[in-house]
Amino acid sequence: MRIDGKGLIDRRKPISFRFDGQRYDGFAGDTLASALLANDIRLMGRSFKYHRPRGVLTAGSEEPNALVTTGLGPAQEPNVRATTLELYEGLMARSQNRWPSLGFDLMAVNDLAAPFLGAGFYYKTFMWPKAFWEKIYEPVIRNAAGLGALSGEANSDKYEKAFAHCDLLVIGAGPAGLWAAMEGARAGLDVILCDEDTQPGGRLNAETETVGGMAGAEWAASVVAELRAMGNVRIMTRTAVIGAYDGGTYGALERLAPEVAQRPGAARECFWRITAGQAVLAAGAIERPVAFRNNDRPGIMTAGAVRAYLNRWNVTAGRNIAVYGNTDEAHRSVRDLQAAGLHVSALIDARPHATCDLDVPFFAGAEVSNAEGRQALEAVEIRTAKGVEKIRAECLAMSGGWNPNVHLTCHMGGRPVWDRDIAAFVPQPGAVPGLHVAGAARGVFDTAGCLADGRRAARAALEALGRKAAEVDLPEAETARYDIWPVWAVPGKGRAWLDFQNDVTVKDVRQAAVENFRSVEHMKRYTTQGMATDQGKNSNVAALAVLADATGRGIPETGTTTFRPPFVPVSIAALGAGAQGKGFAPQRFTTSHDASVARGAPMIEAGLWYRPSYFPQAGETHWRQSCDREVQMVRRAVGVSDVSTLGKIDIQGPDAGAFLDMVYTGMFSTLKEGRVRYGLMLREDGYVMDDGTTARMGADHYVMTTTTAAAGQVMRHLDFVHQCLCPQMDVRFISVTEQWAQFAVAGPKARDLLTELLGADQVDLPFMGCGAVRIDEIDARLFRISFSGEAGYEIAVPARYGAALFERLCEMAEARDGGPYGMEALNVLRIEKGFITHAEIHGRVTAKDIGMGGMVSAKKDCVGKPMAARPGLSEDLREELVGLRPLGEIKELPAGAHLFDEGAEAMAENDQGYVTSSCYSPSCESVLALGFLKNGRARHGERVRLVDHLRGVDTICEVQDPVQFDADGGRMRD
């Protein structure tokens, strides 16, 4: 029901929305919860397990009951708290966990079965047969009990992530936070002030208080205006700081205002990483409910929420309201309600010594023992020394006191400390370095105290930053005494709810203790208390108090469960913002990319690079046709392939040769200028890291190539070797992978092609020679190297000319019955030649394994050489690189298949090796494979059994030399 008043809603801006299909009206400034209450909707959800009718309990992010689903299809978002959901035009919200409707939920039959469904029920009942748990019991249980559901479609909304930096981060914009921000800002700090609410002010927006001579909310607004005008303060509303991390880093989730989030290109949420020099935690406190029979009836709310709805949103859940509390705040609730013209039917103060000066039926030392009404509260039972009295109430404002929000202070292992005076846990000082706690989060519960505490915390932060505090007068504010009489659970029959979200009762916690789940962590897991979206914000302390009582221990000895980030639920979409589709990983495109795509080449990923698989021609319907043609084209005419993706590293300096001797197994300091040498690089542990060619361009100048996959790893390795192993060497290196576009031109007609391109004298290079050349006045580099086994060259030009040169090379090749070839053909050509890639040098092979033991120079030391001499790496019976050809009826030799002795059973104990690469070779007219076989080099000519358990292949093949085509290499040398 909406009442008159000067709240923070804008009555000039009506907003219509839908809840469960029904149209309602509210105002700008409303939350869904306040707007529903304004429309007399008290039933907002069904409970998790028993499907009990539930209404809104709180007015903040701790809400356990009023969870709704918004949006449809890909934009569907479950478990949105109605208490933090801003009302906007066209909002469509649906209730959850009910069938067929919220008012008539057939699953509520669970509530009748409650005597059987207590804590541990599932564990005890669905034990047998074991296999039934995953397949039958769990799906059925999950279907019956639960929260909202995702749509199953990919999320269509945009999410952002962003970084922010400041000198002082203030978490929470209540009086303590506002004043801490003011102190920081006046001292000249860069300040970020975060608050999860839409409006700064904290409790000042919910109470009728005077600060600095004006209404609390007005004062908060004036401070915010002043802070905004200063220029060094960034105020982030709708932003919940969700975690404290190392080095002064905090995670925060920002919900964008609905009208902003609906704009094109806008994110729905932004996940912030805030790095702060110092921080002030002024996160306030959360009011705790009292456990009594049927304390979950819609209309029963925390007293603070009742005042917030009344004062901020001008709504009430009923005309007759009872108030039940254990501090002076109960009297404040009565005052506010009466001032608003509402009828307070009873004030029940748990404190026996309490007195009352208000015109209200007053019960001191009393308790609420039961609530009546099912879908809405109708009356409460009050138990006093004299007996039980029933009083009419549509709303009960209850309070068991306040729990400081210690959450963030515990994210680095800190444990909160029990404060007997306020019957609550307070933060352990210094629990998070650089984080100063202020205000209600530290157990200071009056406004004047909060302002002063905000100042104290800010000044501690200033001192830590070595900055001087400014002289600012504290505004005048109200002081209050916090006189609490702890009440956790009212004794009596029936179910008294502790955790509304997980349907955990006092009895469940006691049952856990009886069954010896006495540790608070065990109790939590046994009862599920403190799980799901509210993470027990409303129930943790009361539950452990009940547990303490049941186990005969004190509350501090019982302790709390572990607080972990996030403080409020964070969607995976926000955490992984931007990482969908093209945002998942960067894409690297070669200069020939567009030309390859234009020729119809399917592009495949090689690391981050995109490379052409093959270039289909008219009439080719299968990739093998294109691949076979391209292989034969290279063997018979000439092929062109973009090899720019291979890593290229420019190495210069007087010690460049010595440095290469250190990182390669072979000798490079003796390489002649104008020559290229193949090199093998070992990791420190002695295994092969990478291979490639290195060209000596000048006396102190080399250009190293790496494989595409290991380019980054090799660069990092070179940096490591230079910085850590040989810092004395005068050598400099830098990646030039992207500077040069490089193309392989291979085949019997390669020389003819390049003669036309460069002129005969520029092409006159010996095998493994290199040199600077010019094409049309452009400085280029030519290398006579081959990865195909044919007479081959690689030509490099500055990348700006790459696209044009690729086109020209293709044209020239096509004029010679050649053309471009892709990765598939490149792979076949190298398998025919027994050339290795990272399929073979996969990180577990030694130089000797791949038949390159002789390349480890005996004349010098190199990285990995000592470790490669370890017995396990140098012994004879290791698996060695071999070639394989099929002999049996089945001609497939799939990579990943394992090798066994002929006749041996195909099991792990008999494993002799495995296949790494496989292809159909048009040159050999056979399927070929490379693989590793125990003692393989001595077994050429032997028959072995090949089994691929995954693909169901079982065949016989013959062991061969890895080089299965042109064994003497004459084709590439001549």
């Binding site: 806008a266 093209k582 945002g583 960067p586 500055p798 700006r800 000319y801």
Partner: protein, 183 residues
Amino acid sequence: MTELTAKTPGAGIFPFEIGGITAREETPEAMTAIAPYKGREAEASAALEAAHGMALPAPGRSTGKAGARALWFGRDTALLIGPRVDASLGRHAALTDQSDAWIVVRLEGAGARDVLARLTPLDLREGVFKRGHTARSELAHMAGSITRVGPEAWQIMVFRSFARTLAHDLDSAMRGVAARAGA
């Protein structure tokens, strides 16, 4: 026969403007990595000063001005952007042509810093990252270089092959910032 015409890394991708912020490709005549040899920083710096009018930059800083600028570019390395490097520097430093290796983009406009806040963890606050400051850092998954060249202007660089991803990520961040205008 196809003529060997040059193509810039951002051809057909840049420029674009969203919400008053522009992303424009810059095409300096040359970019050269200058890595002084052991103990030769002073000589290299003097040679750079004599030939191009700027000293070698300290870590995190740049020297020179628009059109001829030297950025700190990593350990023992500076990147001369603009003029072709004078051969005299080759006596004191390894010189490596990087003219074609990077895409250089100028991001400019009110809110450009907010765009970068979505792409890099760097602290780019007014008083912290001043004009002329430079860093090698993460730029939306990519290893990049970021230099402040004006009050609302930033030069950002990534490897040439990343040009499209840079445009994609800038576009997304710029739209996100533009959508918040006035909020």
